[in-house]
């Protein structure tokens, strides 16, 4: 279960998506997430699906690996779907005693489920195809215009990249601690949900201790290498746009225009 969280992990492959400038990937993720929230009808969701499918195909990360990240989302997905399904007022289409499924509730539940799933897959593709250092570079350079407003862009970018980098590290550490406890007879798979929840409590103490220790070690290592926020840095590999990046920007522009265009299509295709 713990291994199922793919967000924040980097998957090394030689693909056109891995090769893209991190700024393009950041913009692409943002555009894709925006497109999910402005999609209103079935055409928009079809285009978003097509766009996502293309990205998955091009990034060469196994689909099963990407979908694994959704396992940890199932509970959130269920809560969101059930609440929307039963608690949205509107035209009733099915009744179970005091519970009513409304047409509006069904539409919102489907939309929410699609948005949540696509949101996680879309943002996972960004981290799966971009190393934390490239992501930091991309964020720093992409947001550099904010420096004019005295926003500490470099520090924000560094904090974000460290936070992202820590996700897989903490997952690995959780697994190691679980292994250590399993080897002394702890069983995380047997028992009721309450038993399973109880067995997770002893995991949290060493995990927090380990996270704080790692954070402290990192701070010391940065101090030891004279890290300072007051110097402007040069890069070993400065970011520079290539032809493929400009082409991607054009594709992104066309994609968002297409999604906006679908808002004006008025065709009655059932519930959507």
């Amino acid at each position: 279960m713990i291994r199922d969280i793919t967000l924040g992990q980097y998957y090394n492959r030689e693909s056109v998506i891995h090769f893209l400038d991190p700024r393009v990937k950041l913009v692409a993720t943002l555009v894709f997430l925006m497109s999910l929230f402005i999609s209103t009808n079935i055409f928009a969701y079809a285009f978003a699906t097509l766009f996502l499918a293309m990205a998955i195909m091009l990034c060469k990360v196994p689909l099963s690996f990407i979908l694994r990240g959704l396992k940890s989302l199932i509970l959130l997905l269920l809560i969101s779907v059930v609440f929307n399904l039963f608690l949205t007022p509107g035209e009733t289409i099915l009744s179970f005693g005091i519970l009513h499924i409304t047409r509006e509730g069904l539409i919102i539940a489907i939309k929410m489920a699609i948005r949540l799933v696509y949101l996680v897959i879309g943002s996972s593709i960004l981290t799966l195809t971009t190393t934390p250092s490239k992501l930091t570079d991309g964020l720093e350079k992409g947001l550099s215009f904010l420096k004019a407003f005295r926003v500490p862009v470099a520090e924000i970018a560094l904090m974000m990249s460290i936070a992202l980098r820590f996700i897989p590290i903490l997952i690995e550490e959780t697994e190691k601690i679980m292994n250590a406890q399993s080897s002394r007879g702890a069983d995380f798979d047997k028992g009721s949900i309450v038993d399973k929840a109880k067995s997770l409590v002893p995991l949290l103490v060493p995990l927090f201790v380990s996270a704080f220790r790692r954070a402290n070690d990192l701070a010391i290592a940065m101090e030891a290498r004279c890290y300072s926020d007051s110097v402007s840095r040069t890069k070993l590999k400065p970011l520079a746009y290539k032809g493929i990046d400009y082409i991607t920007y054009v594709i992104l522009f066309l994609y968002i225009m297409l999604i906006i265009f679908t808002r004006y299509i008025k065709i009655d295709v059932g519930i959507m």
Partner: protein, 281 residues
């Protein structure tokens, strides 16, 4: 019948790439009851991955592991009971410690095994006393030194009274005296109580000193398996596996080149001293 029989196991961490190569490939060996087995090989060769299969923490993609003749991958095989019989001290003891005090951490395995609270506490105190660290019982395990953590981790396994001890680099981070004491204690467990020991080490002199069987792992494969002296005298094999001859073999070869032949089955430190006394005096 061997206590462990590892039959052609292969395992890869990357389950999603069909083209990914196996991290350990076609591994076979057996461990008899009462054996003191050393796993050697350069870093990253797959030693830790192999031992984590022995108590079922990792499941092989191919092959089988038999414990006392029964496959540990059988549906009705009780893995939890195997883990009580086969205690593991991990390479990084800090991952093994999770309770708020040393005593609570040490008694965890005994409680899980079904012992009463009082019995488990008694066993934990005995284990701490056996390791000479009973003064640490109320300490927070995370604040201990590396060597102390390793001892506490070992005590946590000792309370379960397993038949097999799997020790992943048990001497890492220990000073020379503590290391010697530690190995003597393990040797005593092996000789006096008949416990089976499987340990990973980079110190080949310790292999000669303590092990009766050695398994050489190279690039995820078992390169050779057998008597420590025969294997560690094989200069070509050691070079191929990125290992360096132990001092005991150096001394043996040095004396041999000067016409002094000592018994090659007696290359433990005390044996060498005795042999030198015999030959030179």
């Amino acid at each position: 019948m061997p206590i462990f029989e590892v039959k052609n196991i292969s395992f890869r961490y990357d389950k999603y790439d069909e083209n990914a190569s196996y991290n350990i490939d076609d591994i076979s060996f057996s461990v008899d009851r009462g054996d003191f087995v050393a796993l050697i090989g350069k870093s990253g060769s797959g030693k830790s991955t192999i031992v984590s299969h022995l108590n079922g923490l990792k499941k092989a993609d191919k092959g089988d592991i038999l414990y006392e003749g029964k496959s540990i991958y059988d549906k009705d095989f009780d893995l939890t009971s195997l883990r009580f019989k086969c205690g593991v001290v991990f390479q990084h003891p800090e991952y093994q410690l999770f309770s708020e005090t040393v005593i609570e951490d040490v008694e965890f395995g005994a409680l899980k095994k079904g012992l009463s609270k009082d019995e488990a506490r008694l066993r934990a105190l005995e284990a701490l006393s056996f390791l000479g660290i009973e003064n640490l019982k109320d300490e927070v395990p995370f604040n201990l030194s590396g060597g102390e953590k390793r001892k506490v981790a070992f005590a946590g396994v000792l309370v379960m009274d397993p038949d097999v001890f799997i020790l992943d680099e048990p001497d890492a981070g220990l000073d020379s005296k503590t290391k010697n004491d530690f190995y003597m204690m393990i040797k005593n467990l092996n000789v006096l109580k008949g416990k089976t020991i499987v340990f990973i080490t980079h110190n080949l002199d310790d292999v000669i000193e303590y092990a009766n069987k050695v398994i050489v792992v190279n690039d995820g494969k078992v390169e050779r398996c057998g008597n420590p002296t025969d294997i560690l005298m094989n200069d070509e094999l050691l070079r191929k596996c990125g290992l360096v001859e132990p001092y005991a073999i150096d001394i043996y070869n040095y004396l041999k080149n000067r016409g002094i032949l000592i018994d090659k089955s007696k290359l433990r430190f005390n044996d060498i001293v005795q042999e030198l006394n015999r030959v030179l005096l």
